[in-house]
Symmetry: D2
Subunit: 150 residues, 4 copies
Amino acid sequence: MSKYEHTITRRVEFSETDMAGIVHFSQFFRYMESAEHDLFRAVGLSVATNVDGVHFGWPRVRAECDYTSPLRFEDLVEVRVVVREVRNKALLLDFFFTKVSDGGRTPVARGALTTVCTQRNADGGMSAVAIPPQITEQLVSAPREALEPS
Amino acid sequence: MSKYEHTITRRVEFSETDMAGIVHFSQFFRYMESAEHDLFRAVGLSVATNVDGVHFGWPRVRAECDYTSPLRFEDLVEVRVVVREVRNKALLLDFFFTKVSDGGRTPVARGALTTVCTQRNADGGMSAVAIPPQITEQLVSAPREALEPS
Amino acid sequence: MSKYEHTITRRVEFSETDMAGIVHFSQFFRYMESAEHDLFRAVGLSVATNVDGVHFGWPRVRAECDYTSPLRFEDLVEVRVVVREVRNKALLLDFFFTKVSDGGRTPVARGALTTVCTQRNADGGMSAVAIPPQITEQLVSAPREALEPS
Amino acid sequence: MSKYEHTITRRVEFSETDMAGIVHFSQFFRYMESAEHDLFRAVGLSVATNVDGVHFGWPRVRAECDYTSPLRFEDLVEVRVVVREVRNKALLLDFFFTKVSDGGRTPVARGALTTVCTQRNADGGMSAVAIPPQITEQLVSAPREALEPS
């Protein structure tokens, strides 16, 4: 039941556009997060996880996106998330954005997130910790060929 | 040092506009919250208040806005918040939006929020409680004449 | 094929929450808009409509929401939009928010939008105009009994 | 009057936080854009520029951010934008985020944007064009030493 990739489809909403008539570039990072969290749900997990009473969090240490084509209101966009690497304390995810229309499939962007597994301390702070096995059993590094646009 | 009104000025940001070329209507509610929180700070308070170790929160029970004129990118807008009424457990705030330009002052919207003072329970839930005196000493109901557009 | 109500279902996203751990109150207005636009699509229309070469827009003149219960990350929420009234130049929509879980259905909020049909002028401004028949044939005022929580 | 760097200061707003109690990572890209647009204004320009009747736009082709420390509600953050390079058709900007408090200055993030100068075509599309001299006279590449955290 473990997974290394997952795809969601969204329709661009009006409030996601800006006065240039296209989806605001910051919105792509929210799309990435939506795909990531749906991947977690697809393997029976949630990013809001408590394991044995310990609360885990997943702050980002790096986010990036390359944009090749704009998205507009009511466009359908597929966001495919691929697990590039499961490290001891970090998760590296790649994202491929594809616009889907009657005219075919158009790549519109490619992104990546690096996320660290943290545990809430008694003082409210966060410390990086090893990703618990309940999670690494479900999310696994993708084979090299999955890390290409589809 | 108590207050019943407060004004902030903001410049409209690109990401606050939508494909119609104007500020998205939902953004006005974020402007209201910014003015409200700056009012709290102006009297030495924060909405993220702990009084005697108890954590208070301020969920909204009602929000409304009437729009008369659009706001566009880089417009300067004044948001004036006025304390309509301090009730035992609730705060009623009115908001007046005015665009400021070389051409003069243009009313663009008028809004209102009703917010309830709550206390975090041991089970994580929230219960409405009387607004603590540390707050009611600082925020007071406005005289009737302050509740008009300026 | 005309309609007077429509329901969408959304799962609350992480970026829609705030530090109080609940969906930010301004987000409910974006949910309303999503339901409204999906209603348009359900009758074969789009809010980004050109009729006979004329571009129509739908700025809001009023928005309101009453909140009765919070929404949290990953909650499933139904947003039902009902056409309260189709006026000559304005559309009045009501919204009913219901949280859906294994434990049953919980009303969480009720909202309303008043939107004016406008036409883009040669100078870039907007004028209120009669809603074109292509739209009033599709969207019709709801019977009274539809204007209640379901 | 030409510039190669500019700094804005913002106070973190409630709606910019998420349920983890920190500023959502996507918000840092909006902060970058705010600093960028204020840089434009500081040299008498706007990103919504018309030069000789031609409308210019600035879509992003790349955005990235590295996060080292979280920002929380009401934190004061300085965002310094530095012009890394003015290319023929593209602008490369670096961003340095610093939290400012009584306890001193803490670097919290570092970002970058690559933006392309485009011109609106008759068909509504966009083509990359050389950055007009009215802009390159005002925005110049920074000396190497400016491209370091301050």
